[in-house]
Amino acid sequence: MINFHKNHKSLVYTSFAVFLGLSTLIAIIPAYQMQETQPLPGMLPMSEEVQNGFNTYVAENCMACHTQQVRNIEMDKVWGDRPSIPSDYYYSKQRMDFWRQSPSILGSERTGPDLTNVGKRQSGQEWHLLHLYNPRIVVKESVMPGYPWLFREKYENTLSENDVVVPVPEKFLKDPQVKIVASQKALDLVAYLISLKQIDLGEENITAFIKAKERPQPADSGANGSSSLPDGAVLYANTCAACHQADGNGLPGAFPPLAGSDIVTDSSPEMLIKIILQGYDARPEYGAMPPFADMLSDEDIAAIATHERSSWGNNAPAVTPEEVKKIRDYIQTLNQ
């Protein structure tokens, strides 16, 4: 009989063998199984630019604060249309090079937002560049560090044609004469962030979120139609405030104000709804706005438009989902 108390060999060998056996069962075999995952149809390998940006993402250890996993519980719905599945990581999780292993992008802390779908949520290059230079330019309360070393400072007369100038507001500059120019590294990093979009699995293949328990509806719901709309203020904060700001004043030189805007407060909401659905890039002094038709329902857009039309001193009548639906249908017929 093995006597662990007196035989150091059998003690050490046994604890090694059992540990190795358990490790094989719990880690090595499942790891090999997970490696057999194939990419989703429609998934493309990273372009060189995106790959370079991804390298910067890992070098700056963005994974310390940003997850890239939409869990299969309903609270994570804000971060993606469906829960993440192993195939999503086919191209992003491969060994980086001889020195560095496959990056741990799933993350374990969500100090900042999840980035699985950030390219869809926030597709504007300008916003990302401003945010990287100093996050507090666009999100006042942010605790994210700035990355000014990914930018160069230049004077007006030394600017070349290809320089991407970032419209940093004056109060964030030490010298107001200086222009902030994005380096290739910053542009690559932004290209990577914008490339982060969940692949649509189509209706059939969808993996579902585990439903949250239904919240009991207040007794008076349905009594008037407007209370069945989602909360416009929350939707605005989640979707629009990053650019147009919580106070509706936008950012001069980057994002137009909504407070007091003629389009927002026009008695007919048609133009406003069209811009939300289709995006907008008609004014050179501002950044381009992405279309939201795929991301927001008629009810969402009605709620957001109503919120915008009645906040920050704006005073225009509410918008109904029917109005939004009409315009959405109209745009669709135009596209066909």
Binding site: L11, A27, A64, N238
Partner: protein, 633 residues
Amino acid sequence: MFKTENVFRTVNDFFRKKKTNGRIKIFDSISDKIIRNKYLWSLLLLLSGTTMFGQMRPNPSTENWELSPGIIGTVMLICIVLIIAILILFYRLSETLGNIIRKKDYRDKTVFSEELMTLSEPEIDEILEKRKKALGYQLSGNELSNDSEVEDTKGLIAKVTHKRNMPLADEKKKTKISLETPEELKKIVIWYLGASIFWLVFGTFIGQYVGMKFVWPEMDTTPWLSFGRLRPVHTNTVFWGWASMAMIGLGYFVIARTSNTRIHSYKWAWTGWILINLSVFFGNLSLMNGINNGGGEYREYIWPIALLFGLGLIITFFNFYKTVANRKIEEIYVSNWYILGGLVWTITLAVIGYLPNFQDGLGETVIQGYYMHQGVGMWFMTFTLGLIYYYLPSSLNKPIYSYSLGVLAFWTQMLFYTLIGTHHFVFSPLPWWLQTVAIVFSAGMFIPVVAGTTNFLMTMKGSWSEISKSYVLPFFLVGVVFYFVGSTQGSLQAFRFTNYVWHFTDFNVAHSHMTMYGIITFIMWACTYAILPKITGKNPKQFFVGVHFWLAFIGLFAYMISLMAGGTERGLSWIESKPFIDSVILMQPYWVWRAIGGSLMFLSHLIFAYNFYVMVKKRKNISAQSKTESVNI
């Protein structure tokens, strides 16, 4: 029995309320039986995977989140620590009160002598007459002793004082025992501890700096000091620099002492020292330069640098193993089980963690969960338990309560701890069965934890009064209590519901400090204060040990509680789908409190470093100390 039935009934009701779907209702009677039979239940948990615990069940309601078992359990556990702290404080206070009462007695005596002054002449005469008579009585003069001079040959009297002072706390017993230790071993222990303390101060300075960045994100804009790069510098330094170096240094003493022999090779010990320090130094340098291994927690050092550490571990293992093999006693003391086990497991773990085989897709994530949790469980926890099994009984000067419990805890530690890594990825795209196994075995961790805690507390039993008389024991007590509280809380945190609320929030950070700091660091301190005075013959200043203890303890508590409260609030805010930025804003006061707690902790480390200096600084008349050549037990 009756009570258990009631609990199960409540659990059933709880489940029944959730099931509104008629189809699921059919399973009610089945689930009743299952819940009654807990063995079957855990088996089912293991086997059922997606079918029963998969997508079917809705998320639990968070309305009464404060009543969920995981949350209640955590709150109760925290209260235990608080109560223990209050008890320690109470003990100290009652001692102080005792001193004050004694002071009052003294004052009463003064009153009495003043009374004597006012006596009249005849009264005094009468008393004096009586006294004269009494004094006239004479013994031969040497009934109790002979006429020889007073001499304390056994060194029982520590201090003679003629001043009556009223100290705030009892004077702590100074270590009188001087263990005869070979000079080389002494030097190794001191140098390992010295390096570890350097890394402690450096690592927690970085930690404090990163913590302050949550409050002032624009403290600096230097790439080398940015948050993402510095965070792993903090964690890796305190892991591989502080705790690992301290453990190995303290381990060298245990291995030699309990095997009643000398260390196999002093040269190997020094090689290990150099390799590990180089690894931490170059590792941090590369991390600050933006070179990391892909950001997987605790394996951020790229492999050539981690290899240095791995070689250090392998050398240490062979050194320890050979020493145990050459032991002069038959049995292998249980400390050595843990220490050798910890080394073997960690070397295996590091090899698996750094092998280039599991790189594609989520294969790496499976390994990451396994590696990150085992790094803590198989290395720090296992090795530290081994140290407690030697240093705790030896500082109480009595044997460990139960040897068998120690052995049971050893095997269950290996069995259960190994399987729980994936609980860091609950609800992630990793296989559901893997998550379930991790959760079940996290609960299984109760067994080694309860076995270990019972063993340590029963060893301390009967020596509680020592707590106010020793500067070592409060550290042990806090470490052991945190061992129970931190580990159990971790098991509770692995449950799906608690994950639902706490995962991804700052609660995780609180948990890791509760364990790596509350358990490992406090035990390292206890061991250091227990052994250094014995081998150098110099005691630290009692006052500074006290300051160290209380600053660290209060700091840790502020740190933990603020992040736990904030983390919970943040999780609930996410569940209610409030805008993300709201959850950042609500964390701000908690981050300030965390920074305050962190400052206290950092301050205590500076004091610890000073105490270490006092304990090891060379005495001027070093020639008086004789070199010891052999170990004497």
